[in-house]
């Protein structure tokens, strides 16, 4: 075959050169050469790209900062909203837990009927221990009715209006409750103190009481139903020359956290005053 012109020859040579280079490249024979040739190019491009990026950031940063500040403010507002929501939910959980415990208590005492009430304030005088609740005679409350929580005895209603009532706590200095100690079955009297604590008095000197013994209402005196938990003995004072022992009592109810209480409405207190000489 005769080659017609030098141009055709040039094309064929070029084609063969390209094919040869491609074959060499595909075979990996050109890698060292390309590495040597491309390395300065890559370095130069990297340098250029970095500088360009820096310039672009410098020029566009104010708008980014504003956007970031705005986003930051939005996220802070969102965090605050979620924190408020968490606090509300925690509060609701606590309330549900208390209500659930009160419900359990009411179910465990089917012989009693209860009216629940919210504590709306304490007595402004620091010398006496009373709280006010948001239920009154319109809800069937009467003077003398016992007030409890799921933890134990709170006190009794001292005064009632149509829509509110005043509860004398068992920690009030004038409060005296006849109690029974478990397991010794001894009788005693629990009295309130000015310090907001309660103390046990009139325990027979020969009664075998121990710290940790339970203090329950005895029902004597007619002011409270029997077998309501009052507290637990925390310390005993016994002197041989005295007729009675005394003891300090840890109340079952946390009076500083009193929120919801239950009034036993089917208990009629007995007024023993006419029988006293």
């Amino acid at each position: 075959m005769k080659i017609s012109s030098p141009r055709t020859l040039q094309t064929i040579v070029l084609f063969m050169l390209v094919v040869g280079l491609m074959a060499l490249a595909l075979g990996g024979f050109l890698a060292p050469l390309s590495g040597v040739l491309l390395s300065p190019v890559v370095s130069a491009q990297t340098w250029l790209s970095t500088r360009y990026q820096a310039m672009q950031d410098f020029v566009s940063s104010p708008s980014d900062m504003n956007r970031l500040r705005q986003r930051n403010a939005e996220l802070e507002a969102e965090v605050a909203r979620l924190q408020t929501q968490i606090i509300e939910l925690q509060s609701e959980i606590r309330e549900v837990q208390v209500l659930s415990a009160l419900l359990d208590f009411a179910r465990a005492h089917p012989e009693n009927t209860f009216v629940s009430a919210t504590v709306i304030g304490r007595d402004p005088s620091p010398f006496i221990q009373y709280v006010n609740i948001n239920r009154g005679s319109n809800d069937g409350l009467r003077r003398g009715m016992p007030v409890v929580t799921h933890q134990g005895l709170v006190g009794r209603i001292a005064a009632v209006t149509a829509s509110a009532a005043r509860v004398q706590l068992i920690t009030d200095p004038i409060s005296n409750i006849n109690v029974r100690l478990e397991p010794s079955q001894s009788e005693a009297v629990v009295s309130g103190q000015i310090t907001g604590e309660i103390a046990l008095d009139m325990i027979p000197i020969d009664a075998g009481v121990q710290p940790g013994d339970l203090v329950l209402t005895s029902g004597y005196g007619g002011n409270y139903p029997a077998d309501i938990l009052v507290g637990q003995i925390s310390g005993i004072r016994k002197r041989d020359y005295e007729l009675f022992q005394t003891a300090s009592v840890q109340p079952a109810v946390d009076f500083s956290q009193l929120g919801i209480v239950m009034v036993i409405t089917n208990f009629n207190p007995v007024d023993l005053e006419p029988l006293q000489p």
Binding site: G121, P126, F127, I128, I194
Partner: protein, 152 residues
């Protein structure tokens, strides 16, 4: 209401601040105010409604406190802060003294030394601590209700 729902829940030992007393004294010590006696009666009645203390006790105590404030205002009115402190001091002692007397006469077994140490002295401290903010607040209120008349 605030006294019963909030202030009574923030004790120092077993004493609490008496906001009604502080407001009454601050009001009575204002120069242009002459309605302190009426507010003493209102404050006493409201306190009696919220408290199990005998009705007349706080009424009497607050009227007595206003009497002390009026007396002190006439003597040392040029230094109202000192007048406030002195009145709060004697006012707290008067209200607590009358409360304890009424309770003891009513048969409440109150150990007096404990009552002084655990209730009266902490209450006195809290009342004196809050005397200046209350005086400032009531002063602003009095200035708003009784503006100074300017001669043109």
């Amino acid at each position: 209401m605030f006294q019963s729902a909030v202030a009574s829940y923030i004790p120092l030992l077993h004493g609490t601040v008496d906001l009604v007393l502080l407001a009454l004294i601050a009001w009575a010590l204002q120069e242009r105010v002459d309605t302190a006696w009426q507010w003493a009666l209102i404050g006493g009645l409201l306190f009696s409604l919220a408290s199990a203390l005998p009705v007349g006790v706080m009424l009497l105590a607050y009227v007595g406190v206003v009497a002390i404030a009026e007396l002190i205002k006439r003597r040392v009115w040029q230094i109202p802060i000192i007048a406030m402190f002195v009145t709060v001091f004697f006012g707290t002692l008067l209200t607590h003294g009358l409360s304890v007397t009424a309770l003891v006469l009513g048969g409440t077994p109150l150990p007096l030394f404990q009552a002084l140490n655990l209730v009266t002295l902490p209450s006195l401290f809290l009342n004196i601590l809050l005397a200046i903010p209350m005086y400032s607040l009531i002063g602003d209120l009095a200035g708003w209700l009784y503006p100074v008349e300017l001669e043109v």
